[in-house]
């Protein structure tokens, strides 16, 4: 698998939100306003790439040599949880401006399936270190792209008249389905 394939696959064809269904809680939760969507997307890009790389190292240099592969789930979630804590502390002290933007989204990322799921997928596909880095970045960018596009659509939906039972999450999901359909068009590319 070439790098180009991984990038296009990660962003469009196997989009982590719309094709693999990972990270749907923040997708629906933070997409009502463009501002929050951008904040969440940035936070996910940041943490997902870091987590992808760190969990790969942990897996290859610790879990496999010590025959602890079955502990993967518990090890990864602890790494992600502490990573999020650490990133939060680091940003607060060193880059307050970025912290002000991402701050409230960071704790939510611990239970974001997109981050955890991407780490597991990297391992399951037995990617090399470089490919893990590229794949994580592509997934993160795909997440950001889908979230921001979706937030744009949702801001317009608020202005229009939606039948009462369909309001809010319901119409959101149907819209997500249509957005997912557009991403489906990339399927033939790889």
């Amino acid at each position: 698998m070439g790098y180009m394939e991984i990038i296009i696959g990660g962003i469009f064809v196997n989009n982590i939100l719309l094709a693999q269904f990972l990270g749907n809680c923040p997708f629906l939760g933070t997409s009502k306003k463009m501002e929050t969507a951008v904040g969440m997307a940035m936070a996910v890009v940041f943490v997902l790439v870091l987590a992808g790389v760190i969990t790969w190292l942990l897996y290859a240099f610790f879990l496999v040599p010590y025959k602890l592969v079955y502990m993967r789930t518990i090890a990864f979630i602890l790494v992600i949880a502490s990573l999020v804590q650490f990133v939060e502390m680091f940003l607060k002290k060193s880059i307050p401006a970025l912290y002000a933007g991402l701050g409230i989204f960071l704790p939510l990322i611990t239970t974001n399936c997109a981050v955890f799921g991407a780490c597991i997928l990297n391992i399951d596909k037995e990617l090399s270190f470089m490919k893990t880095l590229v794949q994580s970045t592509a997934y993160a960018m795909g997440f950001g792209l889908a979230l921001i596009l979706f937030a744009g659509v949702r801001e317009r939906i608020i202005l229009s008249r939606v039948p009462k039972p369909l309001q809010d999450t319901s119409i959101g999901l149907v819209t997500a389905g249509i957005l997912s359909l557009t991403f489906y068009a990339f399927k033939g590319m790889i």
Partner: protein, 207 residues
């Protein structure tokens, strides 16, 4: 005691049926419901984790310091997720392969952590088990409902359980000439289907 055991149990089945009312834990709801079988399997795995993590969180609720409670909850939940993974590999290997990444993902399912934080850490052991069981079964039912809808129209089948030798379920429900809407079993169909189900739930609930 404000509520009885049965009330705690039944609220998970309708009033607070997790995917529809609280809109939590949607990833597996969308991801695995291409067949009824996957839906039921995923639901039962989640129920197992939910009941045991609720049990443990409730029994340790006076010991766990509040500052590190989330870390403790995550350790407890992750432990039971790994137990589930091991059990499924030993006893339901094909299902484990089909559900793939979604089994380890139970660990980040908002429902499980949500119940530990919002319910089990404040209530007695028996109530917490009833709550876990109720929410879990409600979750399983929602997955099964969405799964049957998608499989029925998308593949013209209803598969309840597959053993290595046979399939329990109905094949070709609408007869051999029915052309399935493959849209339903693919990614976009999942979103649209769930959105419309949510709409129906809203209609029924707003009476």
């Amino acid at each position: 005691m404000a509520k009885t055991l049965t009330q705690e149990f039944t609220k998970g089945l309708w009033e607070e049926i997790a995917p529809f009312r609280l809109v939590l834990g949607l990833c597996p709801v969308l991801g695995v419901t291409t067949t009824v079988e996957n839906g039921i399997g995923m639901g039962l795995a989640t129920t197992f984790v939910l009941v045991f993590s609720n049990l443990l969180v409730a029994s340790l609720r006076n010991i766990i310091p509040s500052k590190v409670r989330i870390a403790c909850f995550i350790i407890i939940i992750a432990t039971f997720v790994v137990v589930t993974e091991l059990l499924m590999q030993a006893f339901a290997y094909t299902l484990f392969l089909k559900l793939g990444v979604f089994i380890p993902l139970i660990v980040v399912n908002c429902i499980v952590l949500g119940r530990a934080e919002a319910f089990a850490s404040k209530n007695s052991i028996t109530l917490s088990i009833a709550d876990g069981l109720g929410i879990g079964i409600g979750f399983t039912l929602s997955l099964a409902a969405l799964g049957s809808l998608r499989e029925l129209f998308g593949a013209n089948n209803l598969t309840i359980w597959t053993t290595p030798t046979s399939v329990i379920g109905v094949q070709e429900v609408f007869g051999p000439h029915f052309q399935p809407f493959s849209f339903m079993v693919q990614a976009p169909g999942a979103f649209v289907c769930l959105g419309l189900m949510l709409c129906i739930m809203n209609l029924l609930g707003s009476k």
